[in-house]
Symmetry: C2
């Protein structure tokens, strides 16, 4: 099939690669120029997003934030200007659910279709093709695109209509951030109270405190491995989307809002590029105590 992929960053590059590896012809465009090694028989570099939309049947976008999606879709040389009836835009970026509903409406007004399909699982999941995909849009369009999504993701759920995929991703980012803070407070308390935080974590994994975050991010806190993973600056971007949405919808999210303030403290310490498990370092500075595993 003739596909398009716009946005070839850390995530987009391996994702587009899976489409190419499956034998599809993929028209490629990215802000900084398409890497030469992606082009050839199955990859064709395009100068503009419009050109991608002119040549491809289904166009995937994977860019950093809401304004970036707006630009690649609706700028003068954006994808919308190259679309013809029946084509499908699949935005896999993590952006505002509210803006997404607007983007979808504008694409459908062109006689085309729109899916929002943000992903979870990071660079590792993108490379392995094991991302979790949360999709919003029409069921029949979802079914048409699903075989392609399965090349990039493992757990793929149609949540509901347009925007609902982004809403699910927002919910995901809330829980992940707050579970990280939960694990940080718990392990810091344990460590400063004189217990071995590694043994505490191990015991807690067997009960109601169990979570993927206690498993993965808890271990990072203990081993002091704060190379990303998923960077604080990206998580803070996602919480900004959540909090703007919450403001617009009149939803008070007290812990999410406070978590964003803690991320601000991470930035103040120059730690925005670290993994989001490094949120624990903010708390450690407040407590003048660093978590330590017993020897």
């Amino acid at each position: 099939m003739d596909l398009g992929f716009i946005g070839l960053g850390i995530m987009g590059r391996p994702m587009a690669g899976h489409l190419q590896a499956a034998g599809h012809r993929v028209y490629l465009n990215t802000r900084s120029g398409v890497p030469r090694e992606m082009t050839g028989k199955s990859g064709i570099a395009c100068k503009t997003a419009r050109e991608v939309a002119q040549k491809a049947e289904i166009i995937f976008t994977m860019v950093p934030d809401t304004p970036d999606v707006e630009k690649v879709l609706f700028a003068d040389d954006g994808a919308a200007s190259g679309l013809s009836r029946g084509k499908i835009v699949v935005d896999m970026s993590t952006i505002s659910p509210l803006a997404t509903k607007d983007f979808a409406r504008r694409i459908e007004e062109l006689g085309c279709f729109y899916l929002d399909s943000p992903v979870s699982g990071g660079e590792v999941g993108a490379k392995a093709g094991t991302l979790t995909l949360m999709v919003g849009g029409r069921e029949e369009i979802f079914e048409r695109v699903r075989p392609l999504l399965q090349l990039m993701g493992k757990t793929i759920t149609l949540i509901g209509g347009n925007g609902d995929g982004q809403t699910a991703k927002a919910a995901n980012q809330i829980i992940v951030a707050l579970n990280i803070e939960a694990v940080a407070e718990a392990l810091l308390f344990a460590s400063k109270a004189g217990a071995d935080p590694a043994r505490v974590r191990q015991a807690l994994l067997g009960g109601f405190a169990q979570s993927r975050i206690l498993e993965v991010h808890g271990e990072r806190m203990l081993k002091r491995t704060f190379a990303p993973g998923f960077r604080i600056e990206l998580h803070a971007k996602d919480l900004a989307i959540v909090l703007a949405g919450a403001r617009a919808l009149n939803i008070p999210l007290p812990h999410t809002a406070h978590c964003q303030e803690l991320f601000n403290a991470s930035f103040a310490a120059g730690e925005g590029g670290l993994d989001d498990s490094a949120l624990v370092k903010v708390l450690e500075r407040l407590a003048s105590h660093e978590i330590k595993i017993a020897d």
Copy 2:
């Protein structure tokens, strides 16, 4: 073996029952009088905690809070006054880690031994004998008592020295409370943004947001089943222990402290007797929106 069990409430009763069912003679004492059906060949009612300690080799305590443990151990007719050298006290209540270290010291000064072994898993786990036990104390004493603990619990971990079991339990209660708030904020956001919170939860269970709390308490929030489970008033008691300890140890726990404030709002609404997943109702009132599953 001749055992003792002090505190026959919702938790203590089935726990003592498992010891009796395994063929041990259990000397029983509880504030409100030993239930007749627990007495007979394997259960002997005692008028005081002292009498229990005089007759049993290993004495278990399971009472509500720190002052209750202090009373059953160190009041005039308390267990300490009935102990003789080599006997073992195993406190399975959830109480202060710092007070526990003091209690253990005072018991060991009598030539006896002390384990703190708070439990997680609630009434269901107590009845099924599948509790999670977090133990603090000497390893050789732990090994002697372990076969008895295995009659009551499934996952049993020696965390470290005296108090460390309670510290692990405190860490557990921090994470459980904050994960409940995380799920509440996420599902409320999803619901008010117009997505089906049930589908959002289902999708999130496959990724990094997965937790036992999202599974169990998330489902309770969706199904509006707020019968305990584990009551808010007990969880608030546990957080009070955590926050007093945190204060003594100079550990700021901003989310835990705020969660306790939200529990205060639960009490204000007369909801202290509900399951702790009902914390979501506080947030729902703030947002003037109740979570609803799509039909």
